[in-house]
Symmetry: C2
Subunit: 323 residues, 2 copies
């Protein structure tokens, strides 16, 4: 098969492109470069610069490159910005996916792997979140991800496609410094930024009902995220029409914010720094940890990389980009 | 205020237009006439023929007519068709509303009344469905209605709008024969159609966990639906920015399919006919009846019309259109 990877010039997309290419898949990148960077696309992989809202261009690229499946990673992904600019998020994430599915349907492309998110669960009140836990997204960003899953399921049913929605938990790390995330929207780079400014890292609330009182999350290395995409793509290659998978991608292990901050301080040589505990942020659930059994059963996939590897590689990437 | 009524040439829209006009509101109809009919728009009310996907036209109409609020009724509404053509439904219902909200935001229009549906609840397992009952739509149609509510809430928060989402239960009846529904997608016209063909009306399953074993629904007269829109529009006129209401529009009374069929047989002079009981249809919940307290408290609205009035007026409309 020949895979179109939308958002393939982004942080996660660039990792997916490399892992799929290294796994022997044929790959074409489609990215509007609004946040992606052309230098993340490896030599030998075609890059088409375009919007997922441009149906004509999507169809042309599909035909020109003989595309037979799509890995749809292109999306706006900042929760806070989605509250301020919801129509922009719906346009890019929802109408964008609709347009892509229309182009796929028109050209007979039948397989799609979709980047969903643990944000679809909202504030889950369970120890381990399974794929059957009720979805109740708390932001326009999370809504657009759940809507994307609905769209794919509906298209699979109506048009006989095959689809896999992958619910990412908390992504961190990088395969190499130049591929690392340059945004500061997650815990790990937020701590780096505070340290660089000579300030104590912040912990938003230590009165949650968790062992040490701070929020618990399931952190996963971006290389593991990428290998899950390859596994899902290969599964869809052989799957019958009408197959629709929804899969958590997490390690199935919870780590508290305090534990993560302590690890980051150690890795970056800042053991002496004491984190500052502030008020809770609105909308932070106490605990979001994946049940990772379904993906193991369905794809034979499980995570291989640990916390220190995520933090060390992210720190190398941070220094690379700030140098 | 001056209200733009999208879908105002449709069955429900035409009733809303009349009730709002008779209530002294200034009204402009916007309809693509894909299922609406120009002859449903009363004399003296401007009709603009256009798509809710045409942002430029929407903005021009808003400016030309001094529109200050929108009643958004235009939508695709057939559950079965939505399963077969999901991308069409998402395009019209979701991207259509996004486009409308973009046009409103660009022109400073801050009030919107939105046609939602009890379909957002899916298969509720409660005696009376309140607005806080968990939403779990079962079809692309129901999904697009829940997404519409999310869009409106997000726009209210981000842009300081005021919004009301009205969850219609089972609409029936007509204010006059020529305004009646011409589609055959609900129980009442489906029974009419069977009778006209000389066939026994069908009851899909009588082994549900309900008093007589047939499904129970909350039927409401389209005139009551229309007056709820007027009440909601007036409420939004005075509401502070950031107001977002979600309201059931039902009578709060359940009627079984068997009871409805018996009433229809009586009203149409077919007492001798015995309904035919067949297998259940997939996806029919046993019971969906509104808790109608919130709308009474918020808008001082409650339904005034009963079952026989719905059936008699629908029957007159049926004969009018078939003559």
């Amino acid at each position: 098969m020949s895979w179109l990877v939308t958002g393939g010039a982004g942080y996660i997309g660039a990792h997916v492109v490399r892992v799929m290419r290294d796994g022997g898949e044929s790959v074409v990148v489609y990215d509007d470069l609004s946040t992606g960077r052309a230098d993340r696309v490896p030599d030998g992989v075609p890059l088409v610069v375009g919007s997922v809202l441009d149906r004509d261009l999507l169809e042309r690229v599909i035909r020109d490159h003989g595309v037979t499946g799509v890995v749809h990673i292109a999306a706006k992904k900042q929760v806070g910005e989605s509250v301020e600019r919801p129509l922009h998020y719906y346009r890019e994430n929802v109408t964008g996916l609709q347009t892509l599915l229309e182009a796929m349907s028109a050209t007979g492309v039948g397989a799609i792997v979709f980047s969903s998110s643990a944000a679809v669960y909202g504030m889950p009140d369970v120890d381990l979140v399974t794929e059957d836990t009720a979805c109740a997204p708390m932001s326009p960003y999370g809504e657009t991800k759940l809507i994307g899953e609905w769209l794919i399921k509906a298209a699979v049913t109506a048009y006989g496609m095959r689809g896999a929605s992958l619910r990412y938990f908390n992504v961190a790390g990088a395969a190499s410094p130049e591929l690392s995330d340059t945004g500061v929207f997650n815990l790990v780079p937020m701590v780096f930024e505070r340290l660089e400014a000579g300030e104590a890292p912040r912990i938003f609330g230590d009165d949650y009902t968790t062992p040490d009182g701070t929020c618990v999350r399931d952190y996963i290395h971006v290389q593991d995220i990428a290998s899950a995409h390859l596994a899902a793509a290969r599964r869809l290659e052989d799957a019958p029409r009408g197959t629709a998978l929804t899969l958590n991608i997490g390690r199935g292990e919870g780590s508290s914010v305090r534990e993560m901050v302590d690890r980051i301080l150690k890795v970056t040589g800042n053991e002496g720094v004491t984190p500052e505990v502030t008020d809770r942020r609105a909308g932070d659930p106490a605990r979001v940890v994946a049940a990772a059994d379904r993906i193991r059963g369905e794809l034979g996939w499980s995570a291989r990389h640990g916390l220190d590897e995520m933090i060390e590689s992210a720190w190398q990437g941070w220094r690379h980009h700030r140098r």
